[in-house]
């Protein structure tokens, strides 16, 4: 893992939205890197920039209003920033696949599932795959995502299926082209607990058996726990902590990460009080010069008013907080 080129390597990525009130600094100097076969969770409150980051990196955030102000995005070594819209469409159709919270938005209500799947597979191949072959690939994918009765569902319309079945179909469609990277943006938020558990099991299985490389976005650390091996915590457009999942739960460093964990009610423990993080996200039209979490942080002190970079607290564990000292260690994946 350590010596291979990362599948995705986002460096120093910054983006602003040009609004009537000025530049809104939505993403600030983000580094995020995924090795092949890694499943990384991107976690943080609503509006902290998870979707903007993962969409903008692949040209899905229209400019204007968005404007990328710094950085680089490499997919399997190839720089994506600066590619034409056509080239980016090619990347999205083939190398990067995405699934979202509401699968219905991405399925056409008037076409049968089978038609949509085979069309998508043929389009992904640039028309090289014949209809019959596409059909076999599609049925094979539906089996992989454990959709019951794939032959029958092939003839169904989207509204005839449940939310969980639709999400399985979207996953099948996303993975049919064997993408290098899957972005799953809150894929289970709209589902029931039991169905959520089924989909999370499926994602974990795909990561383990197919070696899928994935970014899974969520605001709930409990949801990503069974699927991802690493967590990047985002706050107000910055990655504030990046660590293996075990470390996040056992030794969270950043006060914001701790806040997110303490806010979760636990189904198997009697808890009298939940700690909630006071306040709201800072105004990113005028972002704080120092730590963006300072207004809400109980440990804030004078040093937090100056820009705070990532410090390494363990070999695979970095945190952007003045409470920690940098311990220099060799780790090529994160090296600048």
């Amino acid at each position: 893992m350590m010596d291979s080129t990362p599948i995705l390597d986002i460096r120093d990525f910054s983006l602003v939205f040009d609004t009537f009130d000025g530049a809104y600094h939505a993403i600030d100097k983000v580094d995020l890197s995924l090795a092949a076969g890694e499943a990384v969770a991107l976690v943080g409150e609503t509006g902290c920039g998870k979707s903007v980051l993962t969409r903008a990196a692949f040209g899905l955030v229209p400019s204007p209003p968005a404007r990328i102000t710094s950085g680089s995005v490499r997919l399997d070594g190839r720089e994506l920033l600066g590619l034409s819209d056509r080239e980016l469409r090619g990347v999205r159709g083939k190398d990067v696949a995405m699934i979202f919270q509401d699968p219905m938005t991405y399925l056409n209500p008037v076409f049968r599932i089978g038609t949509q799947l085979t069309d998508a597979i043929r389009a992904q191949s640039g028309g090289k795959v014949k209809r019959a072959e596409a059909r076999d690939i599609a049925l094979g994918m539906l089996e992989k995502v454990h959709l019951p009765n794939p032959e029958r569902q092939f003839k169904a319309y989207p509204h005839e299926l449940s939310g969980g079945m639709r999400q399985r179909i979207l996953i099948a469609m996303a993975l049919a082209a064997k993408p290098k990277l899957l972005i799953a943006d809150e894929p289970t938020t709209a589902l029931d607990v039991t169905i959520q558990a089924q989909i999370l099991d499926l994602m974990a299985e795909l990561v383990e058996d197919m070696g899928l490389t994935m970014i899974m976005i969520s605001h709930d650390l409990g949801v990503v726990a069974q699927v991802c091996s690493r967590v990047a915590v985002m706050y107000a457009g910055k990655i504030v902590e990046d660590a293996p999942i075990g470390q996040i739960f056992d030794a969270p460093a950043h006060p914001y990460t701790k806040g997110l964990l303490d806010a979760l009610p636990h189904p198997f423990k009697r808890v009298e009080r939940l700690a909630s993080i006071p306040g709201t996200l800072p105004d990113l039209l005028n972002p704080p010069k120092g730590c963006r979490f300072a207004q809400r942080c109980a440990s804030a002190h004078a040093a937090c008013d100056a820009p705070v970079g990532l410090r390494r607290v363990a070999p695979q564990h970095t945190v952007a907080c003045t409470l920690f000292e940098d311990t220099p260690m060799k780790d090529p994946v994160h090296e600048h």
Binding site: E45, A225, G246, L264, P265, P267, R273
Partner: protein, 322 residues
């Protein structure tokens, strides 16, 4: 305080089918008690909540709030009921009038239901908003100028200002982030202390939230309550296979893989076509052929306030849990 007996809510469909959304539900809430109602989407939770407030008409059965017979209440009786029993929905945004400041939104109910006016009205509204963690600078804002969590606080304030005896909360935190959810759960938990007489029916599909807030829990599946009991007992020793499956599906904030997971296959069947026998038999990991698919189980008493609707409820402990 709230007593539901043999409640059926059936919706006839244009195609002649009948949606049996609620099917023989009985549930009692003592004054001051908080009871959770949990189950998958479509299990009938919201329908129970709305029927209690007569926002939906029952097909049969009895509902009493205090000494009011809800289904037989006169227009005047209904007016009192609408004040004494309040409901809070999942989406605070669509529950608030976009053209009304939040101070006005909270005052509205008092103007309609009481003779309070002028400074006394103004002060009462300000006080309740402040007690919900909304200081004066927010009072003259419009809903779109508030966050989701703040809007939900307004909805809670608007309900509480009428001094209700019963609060029905339908997924009040599902649209919120975990950290904002924690704030709202804190507000609701404080009510247990500041308003000890307030009875709450808390509808949610999030078991962790129910554990945090409720004294008792009722688990619904396809319109029926399949297990009921004190929260600690149900969570630590679930007796219905559906409750066990729900509990093992809860995402737990821990990197340790859970060995004891029971996975339900497939989706909840359609309430127009409820399976014969035990409604859960099509998904039940321990269903017994010849019994479960033909004979409908009746609730088995497992202790005071504790029951489960399963043929094997009194000796399923540990089965399927490995």
């Amino acid at each position: 305080m709230l007593s539901i007996r043999g409640l059926d809510v059936h919706f006839p469909m244009p195609n002649g089918q009948v949606v049996r959304a609620v099917d023989g539900v009985s549930l009692s809430l003592k004054p001051g008690e908080t009871v959770g109602l949990v189950g998958e989407s479509g299990s009938g939770k919201t329908t129970v909540g709305k029927t209690v407030l007569r926002l939906v008409e029952a097909t049969s059965g009895e509902i009493r709030i205090g000494d009011v017979d809800v289904r037989k209440a006169s227009l005047k009786g209904l007016k009192t009921l609408r004040r004494k029993a309040q409901i809070i929905f999942q989406d605070p945004h669509s529950s608030l009038n976009p053209r009304m400041t939040i101070h006005r939104a909270v005052a509205e109910g008092l103007i309609l239901n009481t003779s309070l006016r002028g400074a006394a009205l103004h002060d009462k509204v300000s006080t309740i908003l402040e007690s919900m963690g909304l200081p004066a600078q927010f009072h003259h804002r419009y809903p779109h100028e508030l966050s989701g969590g703040q809007k939900q606080r307004v909805c809670i304030a608007r309900a509480l200002v009428l001094d209700p005896d019963l609060l029905v909360l339908d997924e009040p935190t599902s649209a919120l982030d975990v950290s904002v959810q924690a704030q709202i759960l804190g507000v609701l938990k404080d009510l247990r202390i500041t308003r000890p007489a307030l009875t709450q029916l808390f509808i949610s599909h999030n078991l962790a939230v129910i554990r945090f807030l409720c004294d008792r829990v009722a688990v619904m599946y396809l319109g029926k309550i399949v297990e009921e009991g004190p929260v600690e007992q149900v969570f630590e020793d679930p007796r219905h296979p559906y409750t066990r499956a729900l509990l093992s599906a809860v995402p737990v904030p821990s990197a340790v893989k859970r060995p004891d997971r029971i996975r339900l296959t497939g989706d909840i069947p359609s309430p127009t076509d409820i399976p014969k026998g035990c409604a859960f038999h099509t998904r039940c990991p321990i269903a017994k052929k010849g019994t479960c698919d033909t004979i409908a189980p009746v609730p088995v008493a497992l202790g005071p306030d504790r029951q489960a609707r399963c043929h094997f409820a009194d000796h399923t402990k540990g089965v399927g849990q490995e």
